[in-house]
């Protein structure tokens, strides 16, 4: 099963992913409608993209009293059936990562469904910070990023940056 792997060290917080997701959900570019969120902290120059990891042991799915949350057998996506969602918000509280949000206009919870296996956030990610890859590939990516950080130290004098 593939996941949307995030590499904060490549993210520039351009917000293409948020706009692309918001557009898919709502037809507009109000970022509040997006399932993926990128937090940007200017003074630390930190860009933090965060989206659902579709946990094997998905607490949102387990806690849902309306059985509105299920797993797509093909993509592995943990997804919400809006028609069944009672709007109780238990899933919002259950997700330890804040990756389920509440759609006030419809009165239902919303979260990433991997766009049926071709996530638009990844298609619109111009920095390469988002990739739709297998979990073990995501581990390789994380190692590559860490290795690069160490290699950069050889080129940059610490303390004089």
């Amino acid at each position: 099963m593939r996941i949307v792997a995030v590499d904060p060290d490549s993210c520039v917080a351009c917000r293409n992913c948020e706009y692309a997701c918001a557009f898919r959900q709502s037809g507009d570019f109000d970022r509040r409608a997006s399932h993926i969120r990128v937090n940007f902290y200017a003074e630390e120059r930190a860009c933090v993209p965060l989206t659902c990891m579709h946990c094997d042991d998905a607490w949102c799915l387990e806690v849902c009293p309306a059985a509105a949350i299920s797993r797509d057998p093909e993509t592995g996506a943990v997804q919400i059936d809006a028609a069944r969602c009672a709007g109780c918000k238990m899933c919002l509280l259950a997700c330890p990562f804040g990756n389920v949000h509440f759609d006030r206009t419809q009165g239902v919870s919303g979260k990433c469904d991997l766009c049926g296996g071709d996530p638009m956030c990844v298609r619109s990610c111009i920095s390469g910070a988002l990739r739709y890859i297998e979990a073990d590939e995501a581990v390789d990516l994380r190692r590559e990023v860490l290795d690069a950080s160490l290699r950069r130290l050889l080129h940059l004098d610490k303390g004089e940056k």
Binding site: D7, D9, S10, C11, V12, A13, C14, R15, N16, Y19, A20, F23, G27, D28, F29, D30, R31, F40, A42, E43, R45, C47, V122, R123, S124, C125, I126, S127, G128, A129, E144, V145, D147, A148, R151, R152, L154, H155, L156, D157, E160, K161
Partner: protein, 679 residues
């Protein structure tokens, strides 16, 4: 019945990046646009501007019928009538005032590739040397900076670089998919240096962000030269055999100690040394890229030349991981500069800014405005504008509008009623990039593509059809013998050995020659001396300094207490390209209007909060707009930024059409002295 679906592959031209796209159609109507995963440049990824082409093509405000200005307002007229009337008025103006009083002005609104040369051809065919374009305010100054030093503007080999240095460039917004090449290099251990007064999107990922004061980049470049020379980090063999003027460089650079650079640019001396060490450590795999941020200054070209010299000193030119010279696609030349030379007629601006005409065959648009208003150096009475919006994008918009309104004939081809179209005598519908077939050579990869005519509108002419039909009516039809743009494309391709059918079969592009770094070793550099020119005899002969002598910007050299702030204009935003796309509703949801970006110390001193309206005044004019208070490291204190292209609060109401870079003729738009008042 389910709709008939189809995917057509072509190139996006919502900006200059030319990403490969899959255009999804249902019953012949475009319903979606996704990235072409096979395209070498974007690899399936696309910014959100691309999908908005669907909205652009089917926008309710599209101009689809020719419009004529009358006393009762716009009148819709048939295309044939419009062309007949325009041709008759052009012929009369040519007869009375001479052919050079007719100008052709090309812009970016419909995304040209090779077709801009049709407009160049028409101008000369009609007998006028006056081809004008957005290039006299964008691109050309960077081209000159590198051309004068290295013989061409080389392409950075970002992916293989060990150190990337971006000067006044913000790829995530300006060339979105360039970003993935930069992050890929960083994941291989490359360091990223970003030189920019603002914490741009790409600066968020910089290992060193050098926040230079606007227009002082040249001092930093000279400071880096000094560091590299004194550290013995230059490529001695390259410098000895392939450059001229090194001794003069060493001598001139002496004044640019790290401390002196700190005093001029605001970049700490330690950071200057750290950047030099990062470059030295990665040399020769140092890839520099200069953005438009360096162009709109009175010292722009020389700042860029100083940066170009760094490539030569490090031996990073034309090397893997450094910068390389792209082989040009050997298309047939559509222009008539050889067959019908018209330099003797005095192309506008060629006297004041000889390099602009000499090296790019561009006339100077600011001089053209003067010619219209003052008949100086001679009258310009008619303009045919194709996809350009100078009323918004040229400096001193008030004066530009006054000039455009005073023309005997203004014809504008565009998709929408732009600020420029609104004052025209005739507005003609133009074809968007999805409605023409055109040849495009990619800016980085040595690939050529032909774009597809995915949809069309009855009565909306393509670019070639328009100039062809107008030429026929003016008795110069012999210059446009091709039946249609496809026939023209075939003719253009002949010397390349490629066929149109091959290109059509490969929408991801066809490689026209392999990329081989080190071309200069065989041929020499494309400069007068055949070497990398640290000192330019060509410029010296024209009366300029042979070295890229650093000139401190006027706001620092002669500060004026009446205008205590320095204004940067034109920083790119993700969703807009110059004056385009303000009519895409969801873009306005995300970025609803113009604002002046300000340091929190300055907003506090002025007593204004985020969203408060202020008046910003330069020696040219003033405008009112809301304040955006930035984080302390996002903009320098005393500096402001306003992005161009907004109909209300158009920042070019206050930019300069009277102060220029002496070499390129580019106007002062990025270190403008202003004052700010609370409303």
């Amino acid at each position: 019945m389910p709709p008939e679906t189809e995917i057509q592959q072509t190139l996006c031209r919502m900006c200059d990046d030319r990403c490969g796209i899959d255009v999804h159609l249902e019953d012949g109507r475009i319903v979606d646009i996704l990235g072409n995963k096979a395209h070498l440049w974007n690899r399936g990824r696309l910014c959100v501007k691309a999908r908005a082409a669907v909205d652009m093509v089917y926008h309710a405000d599209r101009i689809l019928t020719p419009l004529k200005r009358t006393d009762e307002g716009w009148q819709q007229i048939p295309l044939e009538q419009a062309l007949d009337e325009i041709a008759a008025r052009l012929a009369a103006i040519r007869e009375e005032r001479g052919a050079r009083s007719i100008g052709v002005w090309k812009g970016e609104a419909i995304g040209f590739g090779q077709q801009e040369n049709i407009a160049r051809r028409f101008a000369h065919a009609v007998g006028s040397p006056n081809y004008l374009s957005n290039d006299s305010m964008c691109y050309a100054a960077r081209y000159f900076g590198f051309k004068l030093v290295a013989g061409a503007w080389p392409v950075p080999d970002l992916e293989n670089a060990g150190c990337i240095v971006l000067w006044g460039a913000n790829p995530p917004y300006a060339h979105p998919n360039m970003t993935q090449y930069i992050t890929a290099a960083r994941r291989k251990g490359a360091t990223l240096v970003v030189v920019d007064p603002r914490l741009s999107a790409i600066a968020r990922r910089a290992d060193i962000h050098a926040a230079v004061r606007p227009g002082t980049d040249g001092a930093l470049a000279w400071g880096l030269i000094h560091q590299l020379v004194t550290a013995g980090a230059c490529d001695a063999d390259f410098v000895e055999h392939h450059t001229v003027g090194f001794a003069k460089v060493v001598d001139y650079a002496k004044a640019f100690t790290a401390e002196a650079v700190q005093a001029e640019t605001g970049v700490p001396a330690a950071a200057v040394r750290a950047i030099a060490r990062a470059m030295q450590s990665a040399a020769p795999r140092v890839a520099a890229y200069v953005g438009n941020g360096l162009e709109h200054h009175e010292n722009g070209v020389n700042n860029i030349r100083a940066i170009a010299m760094l490539d030569g000193l490090l031996g990073a030119l034309d090397r893997a991981g450094g910068t390389f010279f792209k082989a040009e696609l050997p298309l047939r030349d559509l222009t008539l500069y050889e067959d019908v030379p018209l330099k003797h007629l005095g192309p506008l601006g060629a006297g004041r800014f000889p390099v602009l005409y000499d090296l790019r065959r561009e006339c100077h648009t600011m001089t053209a405005i003067e010619a219209i208003l003052q008949d100086d150096p001679y009258p310009l009475r008619a303009l045919i504008v194709t996809g350009a919006n100078p009323a918004s994008t040229n400096p001193n918009s008030t004066r530009v509008l006054e000039a455009l309104k005073s023309l005997d004939l203004l014809v504008v081809r565009d998709l929408f009623m732009s600020e420029t179209a609104a004052v025209a005598d005739y507005v003609l519908p133009a074809a968007s990039f999805l409605e023409r077939t055109e040849l495009h050579a990619h800016a980085k990869h040595q690939i050529v593509s032909v774009t597809r005519k995915v949809v069309s509108w009855p009565g909306v002419q393509g670019e070639y059809e328009f100039w062809h039909d107008l030429a026929a009516r003016l008795g110069i039809g012999d210059y446009f013998p091709w039946e249609d743009e496809t026939a023209l494309n075939r003719w253009l391709l002949e010397p390349t050995g490629l066929t149109l059918e091959e290109l059509e079969a490969h929408p991801e592009g066809v490689e026209y020659s392999p990329s081989l770094p080190g071309r200069w070793k065989d041929t020499g550099f494309d400069t007068p001396s055949g070497k990398v020119e640290f000192a330019s005899q060509y410029l010296k002969d024209l009366g300029y300094d042979e070295l890229p002598v650093y000139q401190s910007p006027a706001y620092r050299r002669e500060p004026d207490a009446a205008y205590p702030f320095v204004l940067i204009t034109g920083a790119r935003k993700l969703l807009y390209l110059h004056s385009r796309f303000r009519n895409i509703p969801r873009f306005l949801t995300a970025i609803p209007g113009p604002e002046v970006e300000m340091h929190p110390d300055d907003s506090e001193a002025l007593g204004v909060a985020d969203g408060d309206t202020v008046r910003v005044t330069s020696r040219i004019g003033s405008l009112e707009l809301p304040v955006k208070v930035m984080a302390p490291n996002e903009i320098l204190p005393g500096s402001l930024q306003i992005t161009h292209g907004w109909r209300d609060a158009n920042v070019n109401l206050i930019t300069h059409d009277d102060r220029f870079d002496p070499i390129s003729g580019f106007p002062l738009m990025k270190s403008v002295e202003v004052r700010v008042e609370r409303m």
